[in-house]
């Protein structure tokens, strides 16, 4: 008897985020979208194991190697393969140079960076260079000889990375600037608000194009930084509003009265309470970043050519409209990804809005 009362006393009422999750879970569409994003992340993480021309694992001259990791970073290719002159052609070289070798190959033997040639894989024809329609070897067809499916699998990595990294940068700047502006108020607020208005006045695509043009050899990381540095204003405004409201509340006065410093109050006490409304534009921001990246790559202003971004495939497709597969497949992929993030954002909005809370739970 005594134990049960103790147990029920210890049982805390669910916190805000747990409540939100319980409500989010009931939204079928948003949950489906979450699963889609999860699957896309799996594709991105395991992209070299899904499509590639390097073995996932191989035993070569008595040692185990993981050549597929070179797709993440070219420097991760074991020097032994350069020394033995593999030249990125693994199937034949492995057999010729070490008859006892064995290898586990990716699901699809196709490369996102180059066309597969005749007999690279024994008795298998190479990719057609022109008009490579979808076929059993190139399920989504080819783009300038390269397999579209392999490019799209590896492009998932770029798309998700761009979404997370650039929105992460934007959110960090936006939350920090908004918090400082809202909490301190006064002339700090006036100056920061003017800066925000100034940045908002420049059409973002104009600014992004100008910034991309400034960089001599832009990489995908430059682009993520630029997207991040140009899209923080909305989040800053929102955070500022929340902070203006919350800094008047009693828990802030209490914290201040026991001598807590301003930055500790801002980020330990106020921010967790302001996070829910700021999270929603962050999720929508991910979708927007993916869209802008695809658009820039389509203009030829995006990730430099060997990078298999979805937009780069569209760019190739624009030069020849009869090769519809270069437009339809990446287009659908972009659409699904953006739709999924939008649905998650909407679900988050509904499940964190206290006005829509169900009084029963």
């Amino acid at each position: 008897m005594k134990e049960t009362t103790a147990a029920s006393e210890n049982k805390k009422s669910p916190g805000f985020w747990r409540h939100a999750w319980l409500r989010f879970r009931r939204k079928k569409l948003s949950m489906c979208a979450l699963i889609v994003v999860f699957l896309l992340s799996l594709v991105a993480i395991f992209s070299p194991m899904i499509a590639g021309t390097r073995p996932i694992v191989c035993k070569y001259k008595g040692n185990l190697y993981f050549p597929c990791m070179a797709y993440f970073n070219a420097d991760w290719e074991n020097p032994i393969f350069q020394k033995d002159r593999f030249r990125k052609r693994y199937p034949k070289n492995l057999k010729e140079k070490d008859p006892d070798s064995w290898a586990v190959w990716p699901l699809i033997f196709q490369d996102p960076y180059r066309p597969v040639r005749n007999n690279e894989w024994e008795d298998r024809p190479g990719n057609p260079f022109n008009g490579g329609e979808p076929s059993s070897l190139n399920i989504f067809g080819t783009s300038k000889g390269k397999d579209v499916l392999a490019m799209m699998v590896h492009g998932t990595r770029i798309a998700l990375l761009v979404g997370f990294v650039s929105t992460g940068i934007a959110a960090t700047i936006g939350i920090f600037v908004g918090a400082v502006s809202g909490y301190f108020g006064g002339w700090v607020d006036i100056i920061i608000s003017r800066i925000i208005e100034l940045v908002m006045c420049i059409p973002s695509i104009v600014l992004i194009l100008a910034l991309m043009a400034v960089i001599e050899q832009p990489t995908i990381w430059h682009m993520m930084a630029i997207l991040g540095f140009t899209s923080w204003t909305g989040m800053a405004r929102l955070t500022r509003g929340e902070f203006l409201k919350l800094k008047e509340s009693e828990f802030v006065a209490a914290a201040r009265s026991i001598g807590v410093g301003p930055f500790r109050i801002m980020f330990r006490h106020i921010l967790p309470n302001a996070l829910a409304p700021v999270m929603v534009p962050i999720v929508f921001g991910i979708a927007a970043a993916i869209k802008v990246e695809a658009g820039l790559s389509l203009l030829g202003f995006g990730a430099p050519p060997p990078n298999p971004s979805w937009g780069t495939i569209l760019n190739a497709g624009m030069t020849n409209y009869t090769e519809w597969w270069q437009i339809v497949f990446p287009g659908v992929a972009i659409f699904i990804t953006i739709l999924a993030y939008n649905l998650i954002g909407e679900g988050l909005q509904e499940s964190t809005d206290p006005r829509l809370a169900d009084p029963k739970d």
Binding site: C201, I202, P203, I205, V206, A213, E216, A294
Partner: protein
């Protein structure tokens, strides 16, 4: 009101100054310069002499430091001289002027179309909220909203210009006029232009259509919960009259902000869409002038766009006071 206007205009001028300064510094920091992208300079048999290059650098203002060159640009701009385009060797105002009509041809119809369609769709969605037909419309709009306009443009091109080629539904892939445009009679010329406009206008319209109608619906939902709507219902007014006369008029307040904010989009067009449709408008001009480092044109376009953005914001605020008597700028 006058005091408010003056304050806003002064603030706007300061903003303009800062924006043009920032963009000017940016373009000067871009690697390469207009001399390097000029095709005539690339000809190995006819390399310009050192003096020629110096003369051209001086003509383009490249010999000055960035602050000096900016001050030069600013003083000329105040006198109404935006300089000459490096690439087209014509005054910037003429270069931009020759493209304004093309952009307006796309954006004005698409803006009008979006409003004309969005208002009834939004009202319909509110009236039949929760019914199966409303949900179908909602899902379709939501899906449309998730397709970036440039992908929709590519899909439309694939469908109407490639797949339906040779049928009655065939539409031109890109450009503004057919190859045999000169030979056509004037009525045929107008028809030809219309045909070329269809796909770009659809691509321009549908994203804002989806956005506006969801916006109207969200605002209407809030308004129809108000007491005065219940009063109107209680005194026996018809649903149509309540919708239009009582509810919709009150959603106009947030709607006018949208109207003001869409002003810069009128001229800015869409860089990506104009590039896809090879439409010689302002967006394409901006893209090309960045590629060729045509400084005066970039500056002219940035200036025009910033002015429009600021004007749009000002207009939205003034309209706000106009439609909502609770707001005044005394």
């Amino acid at each position: 009101m006058a005091g408010y206007l003056i304050r806003r205009i002064l603030l706007g001028l300061l903003t303009l100054l800062l924006i043009t300064m920032a963009i000017y510094a940016l373009i000067r920091y871009m690697p390469g310069n207009p001399l390097a992208t000029d095709a005539a300079m690339m000809n190995p048999e006819n390399m310009p002499s050192e003096e020629d290059i110096q003369r051209m650098r001086a003509a383009y203002g490249l010999d000055k430091s960035i602050p000096e060159a900016y001050a030069h640009w600013l003083t000329n701009m105040i006198k109404g001289d935006f300089g000459s385009s490096f690439a087209e060797k014509k005054p910037v105002l003429d270069v931009i002027g020759s493209r304004v009509t093309n952009t307006l041809l796309l954006t004005v119809p698409s803006l009008i179309l979006a409003y004309i369609l969005a208002i009834p769709i939004g009202l319909f969605s509110t009236a039949r909220s929760g019914k199966s037909d409303e949900r179908l419309v909602g899902v379709v709009l939501y899906m449309l909203y998730a397709i970036p306009s440039f992908i929709a443009a590519l899909f439309l091109q694939l469908l109407f210009a490639v797949k339906l080629e040779g049928t009655a539904f065939e539409l031109p892939l890109m450009g503004t006029k057919a190859d045999d445009y000169e030979a056509l009679t004037s009525s045929e010329q107008i028809w030809d232009l219309l045909e070329h406009m269809i796909l770009p206008v659809i691509s321009f319209t549908y994203v804002s259509l989806a956005y506006y109608s969801r916006f109207i619906k969200a605002n209407m939902e809030e308004v129809i919960r108000q007491d005065y709507i219940r009063t109107a219902k209680a005194k026996g007014l018809g649903p149509f009259r309540i919708m239009i006369h009582h509810a919709f008029r009150n959603t106009l307040i947030p709607f006018v902000t949208l109207l003001g904010l869409s002003l810069p989009a009128l001229l800015g067009g869409a860089i990506i869409l104009e590039q896809i449709f090879n439409w010689p408008g302002m967006g394409q001009l901006y893209f090309r002038s960045i590629l060729t480092r045509d400084y005066p044109v970039i500056m002219g376009l940035t200036f025009a766009l910033s002015v429009l953005t600021l004007l749009g914001q000002l207009l939205a605020d003034i309209l706000y006071a106009f439609v909502d008597p609770r707001i005044s700028y005394q």
